[in-house]
Symmetry: C2
Subunit: 778 residues, 2 copies
Amino acid sequence: MKLLSPVAVSLLAVFPHVSSVKACGNNGVDIYKDITCSSTQRTEDLLSRMSWTDKVKQLGGIRQILGEDVSFNKTKFEIFNEAQNGNIGYGNQFNPALPALTLVNELRENQSASGLGIPYVLVSDSINGIYLFNGTLFPSTLAMASSFNVPLYGSAITSIREECRAIGINWVLSPELDVVTDPRYGRVGETYGEDPYLNGEFGLKYVQTMQEKDENGFMKVAATIKHFVYGWETGGVNTAHQYGGLNHIYNDMLPPYIKIINEANPASLMASYASVDRVPMSANKFMLQRVLRDDLGFEGIIMSDAGALVDLSTEFKIASTSQDAAILAVKAGMQMELSPGVSSATQTLVNVTGDSELTALVSNATRQIIELKFNLGLFDLPLPSISNALKILRAPAHLEAARNISRESIVLLQNDGTLPLKQNKTKTSLKVAVLGPYASIIDPGSYAAHSTSDKTHGNSLLQSLQTKFGSENILHEPGVDFLDRTNTTGISQAVSAAKSAGLAIVNIGSLSVYSSDPLDDKRTDGEMYTHADLGFPGLQQELLDAVLDSGVPTILVLSGGQAFVLNNSTLRANAILHTFLAGEYTGDSVVEILIGKVNPSGKLPISLPQANGAFPVAYNWLPSDNHGGNFGDEIYGSSAWQFPAIPITPPMAFGFGLSYTGFNMTEFQAEESEIKSEKAFKVSIDVTNVGDVTGKEVVQLYFSQEWSTIELPLKRLIRFEKVELRPGQTKTVTFVIPQKEMGYYVNMEWMMEKGDYTFYIGSSSKSVDLQERTVTIT
Amino acid sequence: MKLLSPVAVSLLAVFPHVSSVKACGNNGVDIYKDITCSSTQRTEDLLSRMSWTDKVKQLGGIRQILGEDVSFNKTKFEIFNEAQNGNIGYGNQFNPALPALTLVNELRENQSASGLGIPYVLVSDSINGIYLFNGTLFPSTLAMASSFNVPLYGSAITSIREECRAIGINWVLSPELDVVTDPRYGRVGETYGEDPYLNGEFGLKYVQTMQEKDENGFMKVAATIKHFVYGWETGGVNTAHQYGGLNHIYNDMLPPYIKIINEANPASLMASYASVDRVPMSANKFMLQRVLRDDLGFEGIIMSDAGALVDLSTEFKIASTSQDAAILAVKAGMQMELSPGVSSATQTLVNVTGDSELTALVSNATRQIIELKFNLGLFDLPLPSISNALKILRAPAHLEAARNISRESIVLLQNDGTLPLKQNKTKTSLKVAVLGPYASIIDPGSYAAHSTSDKTHGNSLLQSLQTKFGSENILHEPGVDFLDRTNTTGISQAVSAAKSAGLAIVNIGSLSVYSSDPLDDKRTDGEMYTHADLGFPGLQQELLDAVLDSGVPTILVLSGGQAFVLNNSTLRANAILHTFLAGEYTGDSVVEILIGKVNPSGKLPISLPQANGAFPVAYNWLPSDNHGGNFGDEIYGSSAWQFPAIPITPPMAFGFGLSYTGFNMTEFQAEESEIKSEKAFKVSIDVTNVGDVTGKEVVQLYFSQEWSTIELPLKRLIRFEKVELRPGQTKTVTFVIPQKEMGYYVNMEWMMEKGDYTFYIGSSSKSVDLQERTVTIT
């Protein structure tokens, strides 16, 4: 006789309808309703009761329930609900959380009370926080990656997770593991940047945090690793084709997937919109079966991106109808379809009969979806309450987490000593001109539930400065519009303000907002927005140039989840900060950095190119990409080898970021060691704060190998750690790296070679910032 | 008993040492010297006499015999000659042909008189003509491709071939079949542009023309198809890595190789410098054996690019020594090494013993090299004479061929009616300011044997204008330098000249010269030069803007083997011509076009992007690359979908080019037909010259298919034909396309599908210039 699980015991308290605790199957209810039975037992029981139509319906969902202003089209909902009702989603992210929750709770109650009572699972994007108003607005993923602080990121994700759960979200469509090397791509702000290892570390923390078990043993929130696969150099276009080649895919794109699948068992994975070697991922059997299932051992649910199955016929032209598309996709391995607001392709499968392969695949997909619902507690746990949501949303701990990671996300790119401002202790003596269209808004990110017109929470840079220094000391002139190129009249006013104040803060960048935002028509960043030009939109460069021409000391504050080309004029700024999209505390954090209350510690997770077209620029380039072969790492050619002549390694490379203090690193040690009976290298270095203020440094460890079977990058990040040091304080940073980790993939096989390897350690990926030491694997 | 071949009979007259004609082997000489024996018999006989060292030496060569000023380092030559002497090359291309020929003839005589008397084969690049002074300077490959006139190209290549033979060149390192889609690539000018079909048609004509048999049945010149494989989007870097994925490689890069291997049996192939999916091509067994030999059926010699075997250890780091590199390469399929001026890697193989696989591969490589030498007549034919060279170099027919294709290579990109100049019949009335640094030189191409300081042949645009209109009517001001950005003083002089003349011709661009050229330090185009910026180098844009600002009617003449971004200021020009690199008749041809003596008929073989970073821009893009999926072919978005907002199809797209007359195309017919008992489509269209002057139009036929197994380009070029029409004249252009040609590759297999196909016919690749008709393959 099977003993009761602790889960079942604890649930008895919650569910009084279970009158007594007997073994699974002996409790007088259907097995799938019997909390004493395992998820697997309950799933199989339920599956046996489901018709073909029931199963097909689970593959689809209704992810656009709400329009603007909490509008709800009941007729439309009911039509969709008849055909595609495995999952639901809130829809428009510009809706207040509590009314939305009330409505959706009602829909969920109705559903659970009908038929077999299979609950919906509530699915949502989750980039900067919850996907409704009234939550905490966190920094973008790229900004949080800039912190190079994984534990701090964990606390941010814990907060996001709790806010998600408070509004009933049990399944999020993150993390985004796209290793992005094309600065033209509009979604760079949603990613962890250009390095596979950094991606893996942050992504792993995300999945582990989201999928934590609750006190009943239920998974708190299911995570979705995506977009399998996307991100590499193809013009920066959103759904652009990706190249094949398994050495490229395994070494450049898959490392974060492999790490997270092995270490965190993610509940689901989303196939990308892209084609890989011309085969759309939604129908790419080789990638979904041979690579993902057989080789990587992924066991979760494979879902489509929004509308991607329909795209197989309408865009890729590899299927002539939605039904053909659905059959093709399911047979390639697709198990769940996202089709927000439109008819799903998979619903057409109800009419397909006599295809035993398809039947088995749909049944298995349904099995996995149902089992996940059991694992999430959806059959057993109560719906989220308004009272709990009121307590959880914007809880002090969440605000604190957002504030902390915002402070560490901002990267100081240049500083001639102007920062921190010397006037920081004599508040009234500081007068400053705040210029640029971004000064008066928060640039939230296109997946953020924050309207630029919302002033109820979060401070713009202008507001933060006014709060800190008093409105009377702040001269504000936007100078120019975000995008408009016709109206130049504000520039001279801005210059006058700068001269009058004697100090200018110019806040310019690229706008990433949701399509319902009042500034949407000025948007230049985020999903579907491609940057052929990496300069500043509109007349912002002209504004900056004019202010710099005036000779007034100028601090440039950049906004946007993207790289910018900083031309020679721009580089005249006395100090430059890139905020990426640092959430609702962006303004406050910038002010704290300006006055030295916070010492900046962000590092670039993407390299900034030096000209439009001067990429690939990622630090981990291949030896054959050295622009001809005759030049070394840092500089190639003095004149016209490349037009314009620019160094191959950009000054603002991956891992780079300045501090207000100085750090000294001693010569480092790299010695043979062991970990878990495996050969390893122990790499140690002493880091000392040699400046006057407390600060944080990111110690970065890269490596290369002398000879390999295929061409490998010049160097690869393998460890990093952020350490805080008081003035004069020294800490030893030690990394232990199993030797078997220092390999690479050839034809899908992990390859480890004997021979010489070089470790590089330092404060950025640039050779000038690194020391090196050669070791040998025997 | 074997009868004498006609070759042997005719050779008897040439070689009196063969005293009588008996069957092979009965002529009292070694079989390999017996002209009555077949090449194969002679090869086997010679091979049996060769030591391991003899064989290894054939794999290498000395391709840099001459320094500047016909200098010859005998000691160095003899050292190399001991170790790597299968082939030789002239070296520095800035040397006079006749002294060079005299010297090399002497070396060749010595070699043939020594040991087994195995002759060198003289190998040379061949882009714009011979690789020494005193030949005819033809347009660049890209310029000749712009003619879209394959028969005319054939006459140019015939001329180049005869000039090559006249100086003893029997093996050329062309054609360059790189299908180029990255406008940043410096070698675009050496290629046929962005379309696989256009590449195949021109490349085939090149190989067939070069490899024609002479009256003795000897191959005139052996051709080398290259760079296997290279050309696709990777930052425009010369040796940059290429992506794998067989659907990409087979559909995008291999079509010209497949056509030429099937139809012209090219003597050799050069592997590219690049790695493909991280495996350097020089050691890429999969690509060289499985793809090239087994699947494509290539039977010629596989050679390396210059120094590429040594690169395996020094650059790619996949071999630790030159010997390791040579073994790796030979085992991957490499048979011959180019290593101009440096020690070859293969010479180290003399010390490798006991490796039977290697021994067999080297022997077979030697066999193929020796047999080619027999097939080229190198054992039998006399060395080229000075007297013959004097007759052949710059023969009138060659000059005429160069002039004719130059006329058709120039593309008219924009014209508001300013061209042709109305003054063309009253010579003295025309006064013109000729501005820009390119007006006084010929921009030759970096593989051209032409110094910008050489005024002995070829006219600069300035000279051609002076000749036509009289020096007194030409005001010449360079205005700015090629590259310098400091000296602006010439701009106002240029503007004054423009105002004074009332008409300006601004000749600007990008410089592509050989490294010995006096202007080399101002070079911005050609091999190893990457264009991160596709604007005009130096202050040329500033010059152009100033002239345009003056309001003087302006004709812009572009120079350079590359795409330029034509910004809104540039597009104010009244007329724009792109000459690419149109050879020694560039100036004359431009003048003929200016005055209407020649009606321009060139078409773009590459699409011009609209912003730095706004690519891929090639017309044959994939449906998933449509910048998000919500937009049609021509225009996407009005504001900021892409920053800057630009149409996805550039106005100056592949196949586009204007004429001085108008062409009307009737509705076209597409009907089922047959060719050689195979199902086909016959596509016919009537083209009428509806203007006032004779002109040439390129009728272009594209196609697409409705449904396919993998993602395919929106359209693909399948036929083109250039027709000349007098005013009012109508011609019917008919294409017969076997249905089996309308397929594509999936996993290395040719795939033909039933269903609907659409033909598009018209004057460019742009939808607005095309009519369409749907047909069905049943």
